[in-house]
Amino acid sequence: MVHLSDREISAEIIEACRLGDRDAFRALYDAYKDRVYSISLYFFHGDPAAASDVSQQVFLKLMTRIGQFRGDAGFSTWLYRLVVNACMDAARRSKPDVTLSEEFSKPGSPEEDYARAQMANSVRAAVSALPPRFRIAVLLRYFEDLSYEQMAEALDCSMGTVASRLSRGHKILAERLQGLMGAKK
């Protein structure tokens, strides 16, 4: 996991983005694109088209609304609120289909041994099957390592609710992956 302080985007870059500086916006995009894409990809059952679509929406909204960012919350928190909204909106519009995409469920790279590939596929499938509000909390915490306070802001709920969703989400994962529990230990 990467720590927020290592990559919090600088105020200068945000200011340059406000002024329409293309290179600054590209720097901002480069800083966050893989995490935004990964969260979307795992949220949407490994569907790269849906993940690309949501990532584009997020950065387009970011671009048009960056003038509204006042710095009273962390930039990451603000950005991930856009991610959460985009993912949850898209999830509401689409059917509750938890079938993993072919791309996602195919075996891992040749370097991965069979057991590891199986483990990875099982984890992806279990994450995909989580209810959306637990899924987004788990992914946000894992890929962003936001504090509970930041997550509460991004998810628009209380810190207690964040803690509860994470606990329940991880417990569901453990129950679904029970067979792997011994191997992992």
Binding site: L19, G20, R22, F25, R26, Y29, K33, D34, R35, V36, Y37, S38, L41, Y42, P48, A49, S52, D53, S55, Q56, F59, L60, M63, T64, R93, S94, M119, A120, V123, R124, A126, V127, V138, R141, Y142, F143, S147, Y148, G160, A163, S164, L166, S167, R168, G169, H170, K171, I172, L173, A174, E175, L177, L180, M181, K184, K185
Partner: protein, 353 residues
């Protein structure tokens, strides 16, 4: 003291999100509560398994339409002069003119017609039966068995081939723009040059009055094949001009390759691929120069500005051997890549292309 169960706090307890006093209370509770101890192990395991989710790199295609939208929307620089009142007044007038133009040129709710050709193409994730409409920002998507055609305003049409995902980015009279994320489109455009654009991860195809097919994958590996007129393919200041009967490969971060005629000798085409994208050296260039015919000066003209400076002379000499060099084109200026000289030469050569 046996307090109430702490299920909802376990994740926070494990990853250090609880205040010290609450964490201590949780520990005390678990010392007495077997159920919460078991649950704590489960949650710890549920957190640990996430190590199996690697960070996935966003495809280059994601940036393509973002960049287009960025270029459209970024604020223009205001000149800095002392007489700010004059600047302010001029800015207000200009803003009014721009708004008036925008309102006049972009009727509210402008949409283009999409007609299903086969299967179940979708617009904005909704399947279209027969005919539908597409607006700015909408995605058109086809699976392996579907295709559709889009009427592009008054200037032509675009066929969306199977397994394609393409977005309408701009639909103004002065700019008809798509972003092709993956798959293939076939464009038929009858309009003045530079009104129709297609962005891909490896660059932008600019219509110069033409018909063409363009395919790409999400990373930007693709091919542009022109059947009528001309297309300019551009990427970060690099431009390839592709006439009817010619093709051009595209590569991520490398932009357009060097165009070649489809009927060019196979050896030339293969050597060109190696030279352009694998940075193969003299051997590939030797083959290209040996195999080139008169009309392959299309390829040689593009090569002139893409090969190393020490190889330019060889390219120039081969072009000069194939077709007379116009009087106003000097070897020295051509080797210096003088823009006007190269443009003049291209105009003459284009009669043979």
């Amino acid at each position: 003291m046996f307090t109430s169960h702490i299920s909802g706090q376990l994740a926070a307890y494990i990853d250090g999100g609880l205040a010290p006093r609450k964490a201590r209370q949780a520990e005390l509770h678990m010392e007495q509560c077997a159920s919460c101890r078991v649950e704590c192990d489960q949650v710890r395991f549920g957190i640990a398994v996430l190590e199996n989710l690697p960070l996935v790199e966003a495809p280059d295609g994601v940036w393509a339409s973002i960049e287009v939208a960025f270029e459209e929307s970024r604020p223009r620089q205001t000149p800095v002069v002392g007489q700010w009142r004059v600047v302010f007044a001029v800015s207000v007038v200009l803003a009014l003119v721009v708004v008036a133009y925008w309102v006049a040129a972009r009727p509210a709710g402008m949409r283009w017609e999409v007609v299903r050709l086969e299967g179940s193409p979708t617009v904005g994730a909704k399947p279209i039966r027969g005919a539908g409409q597409v607006g700015s920002g909408d995605w058109i998507e086809t699976d392996g068995r579907s295709s559709a055609t889009v009427k592009v305003g008054e200037i032509g049409s675009v066929e969306v081939e199977p397994n394609t995902r393409v977005r309408v980015v701009a639909m103004r009279p002065s700019e008809h723009r798509f972003a092709l994320l993956r798959g293939e489109i076939r464009a038929k455009i009858s309009a003045p040059p530079r009104l129709f654009f297609v962005d891909t991860a490896s660059g932008t195809a600019v219509d110069l009055g033409c018909e063409y097919a363009l395919n790409t994958d999400e990373d930007g590996f693709g091919m542009l094949r022109v059947t009528k007129g001309w297309v300019s393919f551009q990427f970060k200041g690099l431009e390839s001009l592709i006439p009817a009967g010619a093709s051009c490969r595209t590569r991520p971060r490398a932009g357009p390759g060097i165009p070649y005629f489809d009927d060019a000798p196979e050896n030339l085409k293969q050597a060109l691929e190696r030279l352009a994208f694998e940075k193969a050296g003299n051997e590939a260039l030797d083959i290209i120069l040996d195999e080139a015919r008169v009309r392959d000066t299309l390829t040689l003209w593009h090569l002139l500005s893409r090969v190393e400076a020490e190889d330019r002379g060889r390219v120039y000499d081969r072009m000069a051997a194939l077709t007379p060099v116009p009087a106003r084109v000097s070897r020295e200026q051509a080797l210096r890549l003088d823009h006007e000289t190269l443009e003049r030469w291209k105009e003459e050569l284009a009669w043979t292309w």
